[in-house]
């Protein structure tokens, strides 16, 4: 590989866009070319600084109302009986109905049997992930490697937050299936225990307080925040799992507000 090629391809490497073969080629070139190695390091550093600064803008409320007013009225959601897929609607559509939910036109109710069924699927997914070689699709303790990996694989990239300093080590990410839909899983370790954090977009932007349930010996902590549903599952104690979700939320808030 020449430097000219590498000059372009190191960006694809940083962005997680290269297949394994090409990634190895670029890495091999970088290993023996100090100039390209320096460039790669500098671009990585830059990407991380950009990712950690919040560069997005929030649409002003006035604009939100203007746009909503300009669109034709939506039909209310089909009848009260909530679709069994309601909780996972976002997977298929890549969307929620945040704005409508916010206007209070309708709220998606979750039936308990839906939650139980999803919880048991979460347990199955967790168990599957513990089998040899199933835990991670992308193995990295660097949140800026794990997060881009999800781009293009899911409509909603799950927030990937390194909690090593808080005692939960990020070890990678994985694409999983729950309720027959693709779902992002971010994998952490606490001592020898694996924590799978499943993240799905929800059609309801209301904040839902975290609560812990126990199923087949696993603790599952679920909460909703910023239009996402979270399921953290592990065999660690309920108090430690609660600590995990609190640390995660605290870090997530700093990320979005900082």
């Amino acid at each position: 590989m020449t430097c000219d090629e590498a000059e372009i391809l190191i960006h694809a490497l940083i962005d997680g866009e290269l297949d394994a073969g090409h990634a190895r080629e670029v890495e091999a070139h970088v290993a023996q070319c100090p100039r390209c190695a320096a460039a790669l390091a500098a671009y990585r550093q830059m990407s991380q600084a950009i990712a950690s600064a919040d560069l997005r803008y929030s649409a002003p409320q006035s604009l939100r109302l203007r746009v909503e007013a300009a669109l034709p009225k939506a039909a209310p959601a089909a009848a009260p009986a909530p679709s069994r897929r309601a909780i996972l609607r976002g997977f298929a559509l890549g969307s929620g109905v945040s704005a409508i939910a916010a206007t209070g036109l309708f709220a998606i109710m979750l039936r308990n049997d839906d939650q139980e069924r999803i919880n048991s699927e979460i347990v199955s997914a967790h168990l599957r992930s513990l089998q040899a070689g199933h835990l991670t699709d992308v193995l990295s303790t660097d949140q800026h490697t794990v997060k881009p990996w999800f781009n293009g694989r899911l409509d909603v990239a799950p927030p990937v937050i390194d909690l090593t300093a808080q005692g939960f080590t990020l070890i990678g990410g994985r694409l999983d299936y729950v309720d027959a839909r693709p779902i992002g899983a971010v994998v952490y370790k606490r001592r020898a225990h694996v924590i799978n954090l499943f993240v799905a977009q929800t059609s309801n932007t209301a904040r839902r307080e975290a609560r812990t349930e126990t199923l087949q010996g696993f603790n599952i902590r679920t909460w909703s925040e910023r239009g996402l549903n979270f399921w953290a599952i592990s065999d660690i104690g309920a108090d430690e799992l609660a600590e995990f979700s609190e640390k995660f939320e605290a870090a997530a808030r700093t990320n979005t507000e900082g």
């Binding site: 830059m46 990712a51 919040d54 649409a59 559509l93 293009g152």
Partner: protein
Amino acid sequence: MQSGRWVAAGRTAAFSETAGQKAMPVTSLDNDPNKARRFRELTLPHLDDVYTLARYLLRDASDAEDAVQECYLRALKHFDTYRGPAIKPWLFAILRNVCRAEYARRAAAPAAIIDDTAETAEQAPLWHETEETPEAQILREHDASAIRRLIDTLAEPFRETFVLREINDLSYREIADAVGAPVGTVMSRLARARAMLRSAWMAEQEPEK
């Protein structure tokens, strides 16, 4: 900053191909509330994303708001042509077209425009303050507005590709769809954009003594 650049009415008319229809049913979608609901469900969650891109493309808050509204109206009008799967690149492609029209309008009305961005675009960044403490440098490193200023100095196609990747989190394929260019072009634009930013970045990190 941009005050007095335009008369409000002129701006709306220039922006909006649907300006005259606002009070009327926009499309036959009104007869199909389910489709309207689907449109809302699909597109409204991305309002912040669309607005973010508009801000970076137009570099003006009030123009960005107008462009976003026009983008949603056009998207609704052409919703039948949406074939999925990802809605964001489709919305962004529409927003781009809205912004193109705005660029053309800005170019056609030079007298009314005091374009302070065009001049600075070609210049080196202005923040070479000397005698900074390391702490101040660290602060600056993480100052979102400083990074935004750097991004704003990039020329348009590079800024667009860069923002779609780094801030809107699109994959290369999705960027290619949104800007209607081959993936190879996306890759070279991104490499150029980052190279330009890197120079500006270095200039900022190592102020001249």
